[in-house]
Symmetry: C2
Subunit: 329 residues, 2 copies
Amino acid sequence: MRPIAVDAMGGDRAPGEVVAGARTAADAGIPVLLVGRPDAIAAAGGGDLDVLASTEVIEMHDDPGRSVRRKKDASVLRAAEAVRDGRASAMVSAGNTGAAMASALLRMGRIRGVQRPAIATPIPVPGSRPTVLLDAGANAECQPAWLVQFAQMGSVYARTRYGIDEPRVGLLSVGEEASKGTGLVKEAHALLADPAWSVGSGGKFVGNVEGRDVMTDDVDVVVTDGFTGNVVLKTLEGGMRFVERALLEAMTSTEELRAAFEVLWPAVLPLVTDLDPDSYGGAMLLGVAGVCIISHGSSSANAVVNALGVAREMVEADLVAALASAVQA
Amino acid sequence: MRPIAVDAMGGDRAPGEVVAGARTAADAGIPVLLVGRPDAIAAAGGGDLDVLASTEVIEMHDDPGRSVRRKKDASVLRAAEAVRDGRASAMVSAGNTGAAMASALLRMGRIRGVQRPAIATPIPVPGSRPTVLLDAGANAECQPAWLVQFAQMGSVYARTRYGIDEPRVGLLSVGEEASKGTGLVKEAHALLADPAWSVGSGGKFVGNVEGRDVMTDDVDVVVTDGFTGNVVLKTLEGGMRFVERALLEAMTSTEELRAAFEVLWPAVLPLVTDLDPDSYGGAMLLGVAGVCIISHGSSSANAVVNALGVAREMVEADLVAALASAVQA
């Protein structure tokens, strides 16, 4: 297998955590290609791994559109080029999300027939497989037909990554009835209600779903525009952070509570890990002509390891070919 | 004070819990007027309270628009009429949300100058005052100018209900930069950035906020369209329900854990109560010419008591007059 290009300079904790994660993955047999400044990579202890030198870095706060045009030698652009040129089989970046999307789109291009790539993010569901939410932020404003393609691509991803034979696809709205929601949602509902869209993807439309259904096992794929999807994702993040903090505070406020908490913590820990975005290997940009994983900006070494594991799986399962046939069917 | 009209037939647990709540409130000195079928109210033990008889009921699953046109003698419509006619000072319903909105709008009318009424929902913030989220579902699609009025009305509500002198108003988007979001968000941002809107309301625009900020004390009022607001609300509800269930499960799985849990439960309980929509007295429909509270469909007697308490407070503080001057300033 060709190596996976890792944007060594991307992320709040790059290059240190990124290089550490890449090393762990390499030790476990996943071939990696670190892309970035050789001196920074060496200082982070990755000097002996394969390196593709690049001199520029797109920072987290940089404007994505402008920076990908101006910083031609940016690590994230070079990583996308490595996939385009066949030197790498996939790319992983924990850097600026907009720049990673733009790099993949500009350098790899779209899968033929795809109107707009979308970000697919797995949302944890207790005791069950995650729900795939898309678009989680690539396209703030969408057309109904794009949402149909998101349903196709999300179904393929749920099948390829989680082994779900006939993924149940819900359309995010504010009520179950087809008459609820915005004009976009009503038009997308009408298109999805015709099973023709699902021929190549194996998905099954189960109607409108609501925000409260995302973390349940009533649905496998939730389709929405990138604005709403991003709001859902960040609302859940905020809600979980709030609960964790409040519980920790409540539980460690007296000695007696602290003692009880220490008994409980090992039982609660798997739950917290379940909710941890690091465990999920990052979001997948579906619809570009290559496997592209965009990890959380705060990714730890462990998150990078998980992202690399998912990238390898998706390359081996030929996700891109499956997406192409779903969209072109 | 004139009584508060209570839709005795509205809600999953009506009339039982609604009548029980009204009785508790009445015993505590809040004058109430129960609206609904006298026999059902009597059977629920409310026969000796003031009753306004109505023969029809709009069910939770009824189409709001059609049912308010056809069921002229529905309890929720009669409650709104009682406010319009000066027989009641406010209305409270835990029934069909769309029907309650339509009833208030059709019978009370809008405050002069208000383009669209909005649903304002308090979102709990640990250790701090709630964040007022609006629109939480009245208008699936919005114009930029409506969002400016939501900012005005939300500021008045945060000031009147929570005593916040200069409420910080955030615009929900997918990034802090003014360039982020949909066309609607960008145009609303530009309008809100000009402090002229805040003259009559005392609000202060703090820029874009994200889903993760809603449950923090970084902002007092979060403005968004009714589709996104409703999705946020239901996503939080689903997330909280998930965490509660998962924690309970983890904590009571063995005898040792159960014992530790029993020590911790009293410390965790206030947190759970904080998150309970029942504690918050329901959502407020801002912009109609009267105080109108729409409680959760699953409202308990306690939720009804809280809603009646908030209704009285808002009548006494003359919320409607304050909203009118904010919008007309």
